[in-house]
Symmetry: C2
Subunit: 354 residues, 2 copies
């Protein structure tokens, strides 16, 4: 028996070439372990734009993006134990999985689950309908996939932590950025600016690689110790062979071999941005020095909670520009021009009156 659904306001796009516009979508009535959340803020991730415009070729329409969600619990199912009405909570890129069968979920590595249900663009296992993201009034999520927002976090600035935050926190932790380590962050955007804050907070020596000399001061303000502009050969030569870890946040085509040359032996370049075209990698560039070109997605739920708690303890949030829901199409155009410092966040209060 399918659960009953209720209708909520959202911003949806009906086609790859259509703008986002006011709409309504179904949300399931909360099940036994579900929490129903009033969405307060939703960050605007570049993935939202890829998805809305079907650039990854799996979008079903109507499509509702948004996976950097902060909200307040309205109701909790009878067997939900972690949350109660009024709690401030977060939801990231995942909303469900077959927890009973998934060995990765049992280890807190939900990001690797073959049964993962994404916040948008998957199928809701209960309703049998596509999942709809955070550009909406409410969302209903199994409590396993709901994060506790610790006191002290600004809820708007915390929204981007749910995707951009964990996407940079997780690889920096996994590859042990910390005291005595030299860490590069390539690209100072939504991901990169949080990568800089985390790497600095972990105690690493942080060097930002940016093609925009104008971002030098901002990089230092965000926590970088040094800034390298890759088109200046002297700056690249100065650091060649010296990095333990380079977090590559660039989603445009770029030269990863030049980054591999910046690594010390046993160093790793981790891709968290996803360029559309395959990246040519010179074999000797990884063989000499036993280097790695790795990638990393988001983190699991326990690590995401750890990240939020770390942010609260260290006063870390995204640098954001708060927008109204009806500014989303303009925000997408500005995002394409990198005209945002460093993340748009939608104030969902603006949807109530729409």
């Amino acid at each position: 028996m399918k659960p009953r659904a209720h209708s909520v306001k959202a911003y949806a796009t009906p086609a790859a070439d259509a703008p986002l516009a006011p709409s309504t979508i179904p949300r399931r009535e909360p099940g036994e372990r579900d929490v129903q959340i009033e969405i307060l803020y939703c960050g605007v991730c570049h993935s939202d734009l890829h998805f809305a415009r079907n650039e990854w070729h799996f979008t079903q329409y109507p499509a509702v993006p948004g996976h950097e969600i902060v909200g307040r619990v309205l109701r909790a199912g009878p067997r939900a134990t972690k949350f109660k009405p009024g709690d401030l909570v977060g939801v990231g890129c995942l909303v469900d999985a077959d927890l009973a069968s998934c060995p990765y979920c049992k280890r807190g590595l939900e990001q690797f689950s073959p049964t993962m249900v994404m916040t948008y663009g998957s199928m809701d296992r209960h309703l049998g309908l596509p999942t709809y993201g955070g550009y909406s009034e409410q969302i209903v999520v199994d409590e396993h996939f709901v994060l506790r927002m610790p006191p002290g976090l600004d809820p708007a600035a915390a929204a981007p932590l749910l995707c951009a935050g964990i996407t940079t926190y997780s690889p920096l932790r996994h590859w042990r950025a910390g005291p005595g380590k030299k860490v590069g962050v390539v690209g100072l955007g939504g991901l990169g600016h949080l990568g800089v804050k985390f790497a600095r907070a972990f105690g690493a020596h942080v060097v930002v690689f940016t093609t925009s000399p104008g971002k030098r001061e901002d990089a230092l303000r965000l926590g970088a110790h040094e800034v390298v502009v890759p088109k200046n050969p002297d700056e690249m030569a100065k650091h060649a062979g010296s990095f333990d870890l380079i977090l590559d946040c660039v989603s445009a085509d770029h030269d990863v071999n030049a980054l591999l040359e910046q690594l010390a032996p046993d160093g790793t370049v981790v891709l968290v941005g996803a360029p559309e075209n395959p990246l040519p990698v010179a074999a000797f560039g990884v063989i000499m020095g036993r280097k790695s070109l790795a990638g990393s997605p988001i983190g699991g739920l326990p690590e995401t909670q750890e990240m939020l708690d770390f942010c609260a303890a260290h006063g870390i949030g995204a640098d954001i520009e708060l927008i109204r829901m009806d500014q989303i199409n303009e925000a997408y155009e500005r995002m394409l021009k990198s005209d945002v410092k460093y993340r748009f966040v939608i104030d969902l209060a603006s949807l109530k009156g729409a």
Copy 2:
């Protein structure tokens, strides 16, 4: 003051397009910590051919290849403490480095030393002449770079361990091939056949990927539990997402993305073969599942000794075809056709009468 030199027989090539032929080369008189070695056997590595033909564009002529050397100590310098005349010893790809200044050498990671002197194709720091490899009667090497050949190893079959052996042993150890791990070995040649033996000896579940269905039985004989022919989609699909580690021994162009798909989350493809052209890597292929495309060169001296001792304890040697020195040009042609199971080794006794 430069040390005196003496002249020894060798096989050298005078130009990229010339065959190897009898010649003489200078070797320095042993210094205080040097050992002078009578070469008994020298393995034939594909690098020898690249070097002889200047395919890496740094060859100085005359050129003497050979870096899989087994021999007997003739003399040891007065401050050499590890070896005495008569000892059976090995020399691999490295013969010197600035040990006093090199932080990697102090940690036994000579393979990362910026001051490394290669067995051929570098400059001898004492003579100020190019280094000449093992296709010769004798070699003089700082004892730090000389390995002890443990009893029980067949010296001819052990020669390829000095390059092909350590090149496969080191990454399998570094990435912890062992019980409970599923390890792929791609390409069954000089490197791959030793990779299979090591991975099996370490207790891993070993799967060979080979484009040659005719090598299936040989792969099983060498220690593989299973064999996959990548052009058979069903065989690839059966193993997709299941490997912890894949040792990629192929030096021809090939599809590493298909190998990355074979990895489980957190898995690693390690290149030990070096295709000439850059390998296109799909970013999502490493991001989803936090996978790595790594590379690995040889190992350091302590690990090379450990490998030789392991081989003696476990009865591991290369499968070789012993040749005379004057068969080397023919052997190169056969190597280019992969017509060798699995390594040529030169019997240097054949050089004495030449």
